[in-house]
Amino acid sequence: MSAPHRMTSGANRVAGAGRLTPARTARFTFDGKQLTALEGDTLASALLANGIHLMGRSFKYHRPRGVLSAGAEEPNALMGVSRDAARYQPNVRASVQEVFDGMRANSQNRWPSLAFDVGAVNDALSPFLAAGFYYKTFMWPRAAWERLYEPNIRAAAGLGVAPTEPDPDRYASRYAHCDVLVVGGGVAGLSAALAAAESGVSVILCDEQAEMGGALHHEVGISINGEDGFEWAQKTARRLAFMDNVEVLTRTTAFGYYAQNFVGLTERVTDHLASPRSDQPRERLWQVRARRVILATGAIERHMVFPDNDRPGIMLASAARTFLNHYGVAVGSKVGVYAACDSAYEAAFDLKRAGIEIPVIVDTRDGPGEGLLSAAADLGIEVLTRHGVIATGGRLRVSSIRVRPIGSSDGGRKIAVDALIMSAGWTPAIHLFSQSRGKVTWDAENSRFLPGAYAQDCLSIGACNGTAGLQEIVEEALASGELMARATGAEDVPKLSVAVESRAEGRSQWTSGMAGAGEGAGADSAAKAFVDFQNDVTAKDIRLAVREGMHSIEHVKRFTTNGMATDQGKTSNMHGLAIAAETLGKSIPEVGLTTFRAPYTPVTFGAIVGHSRGALFDPVRKTALHECWETNGAIFEDVGQWKRAWYFPRVGEDMHQAVARECRTVRETAGLFDASTLGKIEVVGPDAAKFLDLMYTNAWSSLAPGRSKYGVMLREDGYIYDDGVVGRLAEDRFHVTTTTGGAPRVLHHMEDYLQTEFPDLDVWLTSITEQWAVIAVQGPKAREIIAPFVEGIDMSDEAMPHMSVREGVICGVPTRLFRMSFTGERGFEVNVPADYARSVFEALWERAEAMGACLYGTETMHVLRAEKGYIIVGQDTDGTVTPHDAGLSWAISKKKPDFVGIAGLRRSDLVRTDRKQLVGLTTKDPRIVLDEGAQIVADPNEKIPMTMLGHVTSSYWSDNCGRSIALAVVAGGRERIGQTLYVPMPDRTIEVEVTSTVFFDKEGGRLNG
């Protein structure tokens, strides 16, 4: 940190003004230039202190721009701000960003430099670039749009540059609940929060600025309970922060008001710090559910719309006042004032008192409020009432204004200035109220929209509610705090009183003003009078839109882009609306108000994403055996959220070779496979079989305990929904398995029927997917491998035939042992409690490996089951396949009066004989492995579009068959067995023969072999 020297923080600091500490400085750069700020400065105040007004270029015409505001509504002074290369943030509002030591700021949307920008040629071309011009041209020649016009438009558009490095910062997230949420920490918000908090209810108070105080940042001369207003605000904030029932959040913007008082806040935690702690998140998202909300969001000052109103040095009066009274910075030495509202006078008076020359106050009105003219006279300020500013001079900073009486046509009088401050009045910040779906009303007297009918449990208070006068605001705020506290259950609500005195009391600051174009920017004017600064929308653009038939304000907005810049029209919307209304000859409410949508100010994606990045983006589910597979060299595949062992390459093997070896080994000896991810549901109760009869096409009541069966589950519309083996453990207890991906939805589906369609059945469902880890042991030696470890189960073919289930003990731990096979080999599925899985696996594998068995993954499982024609739901079927299509008609019980899907299955389209049916395909050349998803045709010479009969659903090299094999769905497929069909590929056409779906061990002898 540099040595404290007053002048280093800028030549335009005003001695004795502002609230920053001169000794505490911070160094930063702007476009490479080293500058010094005071701690607490915003980028804007620091630049102004250093005499820099030129801060940016506009979007379309690249006009030079200075800072307009001292707050979140800033349209002009947008910069790229970085801490380091990876922590670069484009489009930062200089009026909001606090300076920290080491900060680098750069101007945007200019080349080669801010002062000399080639893009400014657009300004000269602006007559050709009127609103919506691009809809009318760039159409010839057709190809030029994509090759020439669009790339150039795109390159010219945009503001800052997107970050190009991954973001090293963290973002945090927090759900919060409170009785009362108060948005805005000005006098109103603080008073309301205090009143609510003192009654003991839980309160969250948030404000977007670094310190509470709201308008007290610029308003001076206010005393609250006998002390300086801003001091009172800080003390009150501290008092609230000490209370256990209150959370006080600064630098926290309420950006979205959602259903049922759900409000999103973003807290900027480190963007103002020179060296954040490593554990600090950059931002924190608060998702607040409040029983009541108090909106104290204040009002936003509007600029005046007049010719060339956009030169650097022209800014809102309240901004100039903030820069002076809070930051101690003079925005000029000779500051003109242009007003349609009384509050500009107070700004002028403050500046004048600080020793800044005020050459003139130009007021469009016949006169300002009571006392202001005499106060101006006392300070020696000339006031021109019923006058307008009709031109400004200066290139990179305003140097003069030209004023003339309203309605006159003379050239007016030129007055030299180095800054111009303006106020057209105040727009209540009803954004959040409107987001809450409240209905706004039109206050014709003051040309403003105010909160009308509420749609949620909230209240607007203070300036955002149109309330004028500090004492009135305070009373309203206290009353609202009390009301909301009572509404949320507080009984003992103390009466608070806050006494306010204002130097400007009695002067109506928040009312009056004008919306729309001013003198010199009327309908006949060709001047550029900016309505939306950032998007370069002028008064005449709005009129042009109306002339072209854009009569809805939404059309005007979209045609001109008014209000669609990064400030979302905070300063421009009312002007745009007023000009459109005037042009249409309608009243403002007849033309309508554009909808306010979240966010109030832009929110980083990071803040919204919060913790859900990297490893926390989506849970990775691993089976209890995962480390065993990892140790043995598995390559994994993603199946839903699960990681499943895909194949186990040995040194030098590629996937193909590994799978071929695994496939051979399983059929020759045996293999171990992790089947843990299959869903499992324990179905318990006297009506369990009856329930399963309804849920599956098969009949379960006749299944004996100890036996199992393959089941097919349909949706009501008759299509296959899931499948799996179901074992009956006891009369009243079934162990149901589902597909891996189907586990959650099958349970949901079953619960749905159980709870709402068949609630009289006595049966309960419990997910046991993760209770049991499943080691499948498949192959001729399967029984030999596991038998020595098993206690209490007779595993002979006679005692335990194919499709049996037994409960017993393996390796000393409980097991549910299934004899079943998805390979066509003798097989077992060993279910063990998951925490024991690794130990059991290690015991089994030690023996199996010695016997020549292998580990195999999902790929080998796929090949082996395809060799047997066993389907995989989701691969060989999709949501359009019936059991008949899939060759599973045998699984549909003919005797049952009802099951889910029985009606859907009988509809006319589902019983067509030419539906796509599952068949086998063999390529004429056995070496060719078909592409899964490849389409099948009868006539390979047909012109495009070709008639496609179906597609290949599964296709593999089968080492066991010594050839490629495939499953496919083919229209009328079963009738076509033996026919030759064709698979047209980009480079060739492959001849295939339609076959049965079973390629290996057609008799099925190996199941018991």
């Binding site: 259903a259 049922q260 009066p897 029985i902």
Partner: protein, 103 residues
């Protein structure tokens, strides 16, 4: 995120604990096997999709696991009532009147 009163948990809970489950009070026909195509279409596909108060099903899937019914206004998204599955449709006019006075 909506706030939904679960009639079984007797509490309002955040929407992400729940799963919407479509229109309520569509009874599964008794004689499913004999259902005509038209009747099946009506049962399975045709939906009220009303603008205004709808009867709908929710499941407190990440809570108590129960299915229940709700009356919600699809213009405001406000709930007028929630009630246990299997209970009859509440009287809409009475509900609206009751909400009207308490709001």
């Amino acid at each position: 995120m909506l706030l939904i009163h679960c009639p079984y948990c007797a509490e309002e809970r955040p929407e992400i604990e729940f799963r919407h489950a479509g229109e309520a009070h569509i009874a599964r026909p008794d004689a499913m096997a004999d259902l005509s195509e038209e009747a099946f279409q009506g049962y399975f596909f045709i939906r009220d999709n009303r603008k205004g108060e709808v009867f709908e099903r929710w499941r407190h899937i990440h809570g108590c696991g129960r299915f229940f019914n709700a009356v919600r206004n699809t213009i405001t998204d406000k709930f007028l009532a929630t009630y246990e599955a299997g209970k009859p449709k509440p009287d809409l006019d009475a509900l609206k009147a009751q909400k009207g006075t308490s709001a």
